[in-house]
């Protein structure tokens, strides 16, 4: 099967220093892929590079058959690629509903249907829809951020540490919602600190270290791998 996303041999970083050093990530349609690895491995940078937020010095990013290497970020949502940053990922002064509308900014039609679908996937948002997103709890804000990204009906949803700063209970809720989104046919590429929980539900995982691929394989297999466990999953 041709991959939906193919980021190959990426060299990228800030101010002339490469953080990614030849890392490669692919995602097939409908697949759920998780990136794990130690701090500073370049997990978030890899996502940002794919989304045009960090300049790629070398390497190629192909999405849905088109070259999007260093494409301007605002051009990607209409192509079916969505990204939820780790921080500042909602419009805090806008209501939940307005956040969703901004996610569909480039859509000319079907906004009401998209909104209804997002409320269906993330029912907690519906009751809060007239409230400013900044007033919500961490977990609800994360739901708003994911909902915003879903408004364009993306083929691939990229999530940077969706569980950051959440309690274990809320984390479980978020992961459940992500699994439901994936089950609805949206491919997922996710960076996650809670490696065990994330790998357990992923089709495939990457272990990144020093900006390079270290291990790659089906989620449960990576979890079972003793070397991976010893070096990256804290035993």
């Amino acid at each position: 099967m041709t991959p939906l996303l193919e980021a190959r041999g990426l060299y990228a970083g800030y101010g002339g220093m490469d953080i990614l050093r030849g890392c490669t990530i692919t995602v097939a349609p409908r697949e759920m892929v998780v990136i794990v690895g130690p701090n500073g491995a370049g997990k978030s940078t890899a996502m940002k590079a794919v989304f045009g937020l960090v300049r790629i010095r070398e390497g190629r990013v192909i999405f849905d058959g088109q070259d999007i290497t260093n494409a301007p970020p605002e051009s990607l949502a209409p192509r079916g690629l969505a990204y939820v940053p780790q921080e500042h990922n909602v419009f805090a002064t806008l209501t939940v509903e307005e956040n969703l509308e901004m996610g569909a900014y480039t859509r000319r039609s079907g906004i009401a249907e998209a909104k209804a679908r997002v409320f269906g996937l993330l029912p907690a948002l519906k009751i809060k829809r007239r409230q400013p997103a900044g007033e919500l709890s961490g977990g609800q804000r994360q739901m708003v951020a994911i909902g915003r990204a879903l408004m364009m009906e993306p083929k691939l949803l990229m999530l940077d540490e969706p569980s950051a700063g959440l309690s274990p209970k809320v984390l479980a809720e978020i992961l459940e919602a992500i699994a439901a989104i994936n089950a609805a046919g949206v491919a997922i590429l996710m960076v996650e600190q809670n490696a065990k929980a994330a790998l357990a539900m992923a089709h495939r995982g990457y272990v990144l270290a020093g900006g390079q691929n270290r291990f790659e394989g089906p989620g449960p297999e990576l979890l079972a791998d003793r070397e991976v466990a010893a070096s990256f999953l804290g035993g």
Partner: protein
């Protein structure tokens, strides 16, 4: 008491309206582009003189040509951004170069107005207006009613635009989180130019209203800068309706310090502008987020 309302309060509200129309643009541009636009006062001057040219050309009363003047100044605002500020926007978040450039643009605008219209003070229309009596007690000039009524209409229209329309919501989204707006696919340049157009149109209205209330001079807009910035900070930077309310407070406060509270004026009218300075300093010391808890950058 009636003297208080008729000679001080009404004047303060009218002044507040003029400030409001400029402060809204200042706060919107700061919210979206993160820089203080020091040419905003001179954009108001330009708007006022564009209206004067339209009055001369058409022979119509100034309020009739106001919509056309607002449109032309909207184009001027967007054009200023395109020609002068956009090339300096490095995207690195450093805006001090643009702030300095806006001082240059302020001088340029003022000089352009002086070149075409001269440096003498002028008016839209000569002659007296007789005040209207409301309930036999409150005396108000028709032009003051127009200024207050139209300002309220413009602020309400702006509020509806920002909360109901797609483009208006995108402006708020960009002011809230520019990076996330890009990620959401919001085309930054179109929204920025639209914000300049809105700021320019309102600035023209403010300039024209000041010209109607008093007179036109090439310094008129520049002199408004301090109270307008005070109003924008008072209302919480990035909050247009807050800026309008802040402007009302500043305008009324400036007039009320000259009221003979204890038999003689509290302050000589010459010191009026010290009021906005005092408000600004007090805010920056005690409440830098503004009264409405806007954002701090």
């Amino acid at each position: 008491m009636l003297e208080f309302v008729n000679l001080y309060l009404v004047n303060g509200i009218v002044l507040g309206c003029v400030y409001a129309l400029g402060a809204i643009g200042i706060t919107m541009i700061f919210g979206i582009l993160r820089f203080g636009h020091f040419a905003h006062g001179d954009m108001m001057t330009a708007g006022a003189y564009i209206a004067l040219a339209l009055v001369w050309a058409s022979g119509m009363p100034v309020l009739w040509v106001l919509p056309a003047a607002m449109l032309l100044t909207a184009a001027l605002g967007a054009g200023l951004h395109w020609a002068f500020y956009r090339p300096l926007d490095t995207g690195t978040g450093s805006t001090i170069v643009i702030v300095i450039a806006s001082f240059g643009v302020a001088l340029m605008l003022r000089s352009a107005v002086q070149l075409f219209f001269g440096v003498d003070i002028t008016t839209y229309q000569r002659g007296f207006q007789t005040p209207i009596w409301i309930a036999d007690t409150i005396r108000i000039l028709p032009r003051h009613l127009w200024i207050i009524g139209l300002t309220i209409a413009l602020v309400v229209a702006l509020h509806l635009f920002l909360t109901r329309s797609r483009l208006g919501k995108a402006m708020r989204a960009m002011s809230d989180n520019r990076a996330l707006a890009r990620i959401s696919g919001i085309g930054t340049m179109r929204v920025v130019l639209a914000a300049w157009a809105v700021g320019g149109a309102l600035a023209a209205a403010g300039g024209v209203f000041l010209g109607i209330d008093t007179q036109l001079s090439t310094q008129m807009g520049w002199n408004l800068l301090l109270p307008m910035f005070a109003a924008a900070v008072l209302g919480g930077i990035g909050n247009p309706v807050g800026a309008a309310l802040g402007a009302l407070v500043v305008g009324v406060a400036e007039e009320l310090v000259t009221f003979p509270w204890f038999g003689e004026p509290l302050l000589s009218p010459a010191y009026k502008s010290a009021v906005s300075f005092a408000i600004l300093v007090a805010l920056l010391v005690w409440r830098p987020t503004g009264l409405t808890r806007g954002r701090v950058f």
